[in-house]
């Protein structure tokens, strides 16, 4: 390659936790500038939001009219756009507010809601512009972000994970919490990538990585029911960190309908 590829990190509505996937790299963070030219990364210091770049990492969900304009500009300026984390890929935990009347909430929270500029929903980056790669997770796994960058730098098209957490547990030798402990584990419908964190602590997965490409939710919720969980509690399992991933949104809505 004749010149170093340019990288930008953009933030929308989020907790900043996915940018930490880079800031938490430790000493390898200092090697990153040898591979890429970091031209925009406000939390780290470099500021040039309108720069033309080869790769953009986008964190956060779209929740204001200004965000909508800004993401379009980012798309135009980016050769390859990667959305990172649950907020950017499915609207994040804050998309739970989409289920209700936002304006009424604003009125309860702020004494002068007319000063708050916000849309009626929190939505994914791909709802607004073409996204080249989505890396799920709340937060993303640094390894997955680095691997995607490495693949791009090597001229390889990055591949998305497609297997469920269950496969990860098998690979890591983690004893199944659903089968052996009767815990309401979301692993069978959750995309792998975290490294089986909850299950290796003996707790049920709560799906901070969101759904697998194909979700078979009915047998799982039937099992939850056998374990003594009512529909409302099961709904809260699907309508949680990634409530607006289509498969989880509809699973939760089905459970709500069954409850009524």
């Amino acid at each position: 390659m004749t010149r170093k590829p340019k990288l930008a990190v953009h933030k929308f509505s989020s907790c900043d936790g996915c940018q930490l996937a880079l800031l938490n790299l430790g000493e390898p963070l200092l090697l990153l500038p040898e591979l890429v030219d970091i031209v925009h990364f406000a939390e780290a210091g470099p500021l040039d939001p309108d720069a033309q770049v080869d790769v953009s990492l986008v964190e956060g969900s779209i929740s204001t009219p200004h965000d909508v304009d800004r993401i379009k500009q980012v798309r135009e300026n980016s050769g390859y756009l990667i959305s990172i984390g649950a907020c950017a890929t499915v609207g994040g935990l804050q998309a739970l507010a989409n289920f209700t009347d936002r304006d009424a909430w604003m009125g309860q929270i702020y004494s002068n809601p007319e000063h708050i500029d916000a849309l009626q929903s929190s939505s994914a980056i791909a709802d607004h512009v073409k996204v080249d790669l989505e890396i799920p997770g709340c937060p993303v796994n640094s390894g997955q972000v680095l691997k995607a960058l490495r693949d791009l730098l090597s001229g390889i098209v990055p591949r998305s994970e497609s297997q469920s957490l269950c496969m990860d547990c098998k690979r890591c030798g983690v004893v199944c919490t659903l089968v052996t402990k009767g815990e309401p584990c979301m692993g069978p419908v959750t995309i792998a990538g975290c490294g089986s964190l909850c299950t290796s602590l003996g707790r049920a997965c709560y799906s901070c990585y969101g759904p697998t490409p194909l979700v078979n939710d009915q047998p799982l919720t039937a099992r939850f029911s056998q374990l003594g969980m009512d529909e409302a509690a099961a709904t809260r399992r699907f309508h949680f960190i990634t409530s607006h991933a289509p498969a989880f949104k509809s699973a939760g809505e089905r459970l709500k309908a069954e409850e009524e």
């Binding site: 907790c15 936790g17 963070l29 406000a42 929270i109 901070c208």
Partner: protein, 431 residues
């Protein structure tokens, strides 16, 4: 100076702070007409959408308010629920939560001192540029930050939104071999943290004493982190449940984060306030380091907060070592807890200052109402006051670049965490 000179400084995106904020400053006739720390990060409405969720779910939800201090959110929440349920988690859980919290102080302080604040003092735009001239300092910062992250992950699997804390204790106790490994690394890091204190006292620190009120938690035995009473240097001394009788929240038009006042005035929370109020509770070796560092505490110069952060970095390693040296896996990392309906209050010292939670909980252990008051929104009023006084002290006759740098540096002294601040919500409570 030229009294007719007009200065308009607009910093549309503050860099090296967590989240999205901006600064507006207008000067004319030698006076500051307008000074606003604008917080425009969109609100995410956390307090509303957690309604109806179970306490253990809420612990994982509130962590998502902040990627840099998720442990603080989890600890304020779990403390609130366990207080309400009249549950004492016992010494092992209390000690291990303190260790995990030390991990967060360590990573957050190391990140701030080296990556976010130091470039200002040394004349760089970012740590990446700084690394060429100060490679050892940057390496030390990243190493300490990494150690803090690993200390959190020891209990929670990962450092951002860890998964280990539950009502009643932890999901799992770390293995003794993993603890022995981290104890070795903490011992190696202690001299580096000591060097960090010396390094921060060598930075060029402006003389900028101001009058302000310090607020922090305090504890009878320990330097308060995870529990205590709320005190100030103006005589406040209350249980955390009495917060509302003394502190008031205000919505100002230029911010999606509510401001807070104590008895009608801005106040400081965070590392400098803690050190100013709780130096007597420091372990002997940390106190000796503080007394020998060449700066007198208590200090009313907010630029000394970088030294306070360095001293707390050393304290965090010291405390983690003290509590982990004789570590044994307990019979059980958690005990069963029965929910009790009522109002729950929690307050802990996040890296940036006091983080206060209030929840209403039903008999099934579900949250029906929530209010969260993070440190950055509490500091907002103080930040604006500080920028104003600091610029007057600097002299408005300085050039725009100097004024802008000073203003940004003052803001960064507070290590503002703007994602946190925009989830600070005031509710109308109808009873």
């Amino acid at each position: 100076m030229d009294e007719s000179r007009e200065i308009h400084i607009n910093v549309p995106v503050l860099t090296r702070v967590e989240g999205e904020g901006a600064l507006e400053l207008d000067v004319s006739g030698g006076q500051i007409d307008n000074l606003k720390l604008r917080i425009y990060e969109p609100p995410r409405l956390f307090e509303k959408f957690i309604e109806g969720y179970e306490c253990d779910q809420v612990i994982d939800m509130v962590a998502r308010i902040c990627g840099i201090c998720p442990v603080a959110y989890q600890m304020s929440a779990v403390q609130a629920f366990e207080r309400l349920f009249q549950f004492d988690p016992g010494p092992w859980v209390r000690d291990m939560r303190r260790v995990m919290y030390c991990g967060e102080w360590l990573q957050s302080h190391a990140l701030h001192v080296h990556l976010l604040a130091a470039p200002d003092f040394l004349g760089f735009d970012s740590v990446i540029g700084m690394a060429a001239d100060h490679p050892e300092a940057v390496r030390r910062g990243l190493k300490l930050q990494g150690l803090g992250n690993d200390l959190i992950a020891l209990f929670g699997g990962r450092s951002v939104h860890p998964v280990g804390v539950r009502v009643g204790g932890f999901y799992k106790a770390p293995a003794e071999a993993a603890v022995a490994d981290i104890v070795r690394r903490l011992e190696e890091a202690l001299p580096e943290a000591e060097a960090l204190v010396g390094w921060t006292t060598g930075l060029e620190i402006p003389d900028d004493d101001q009058t302000f009120v310090n607020v922090a938690l305090t504890h009878a035995q320990d330097y308060a982190i995870g529990e205590g009473r709320l005190i100030s240097d103006q005589g406040l001394d209350i249980d955390i449940a009495e917060f509302d009788a003394h502190f008031r929240e205000i919505h100002v038009p230029h911010s999606t984060s509510l401001h807070a006042e104590l008895d009608g005035k801005p106040y400081l929370t965070g590392p400098l306030a803690r050190l100013n109020l709780n130096a007597e509770r420091l372990p002997e070796s940390v106190k000796a380091l503080m007394e020998g560092c060449g700066v007198d505490f208590p200090s009313q110069n907010m630029f000394h907060s970088v030294i306070a952060r360095a001293l707390e970095t050393y304290l965090a390693i010291h405390e983690a070592l003290r509590l982990l040296r004789d570590y044994r896996v307990p019979d059980s990392p958690a005990r069963a807890v029965t929910p009790i309906a009522g109002v729950a209050y929690g307050c802990t010292e996040a890296p940036r200052g006091i983080l206060w939670h209030r929840y209403e909980v039903d008999a099934e252990g579900r949250v029906t109402q929530a209010r969260i008051v993070p440190p950055t929104s509490q500091n907002q009023g103080r930040i604006e006051e500080d920028v104003r006084l600091s610029l007057l002290n600097l002299g408005l006759d300085k050039d725009d670049a100097t004024i802008r740098l000073r203003a940004e540096q003052v803001i960064r002294n507070y290590d503002p965490c703007i994602s946190c601040a925009t989830h600070f919500l005031k509710l109308k409570i109808n009873r």
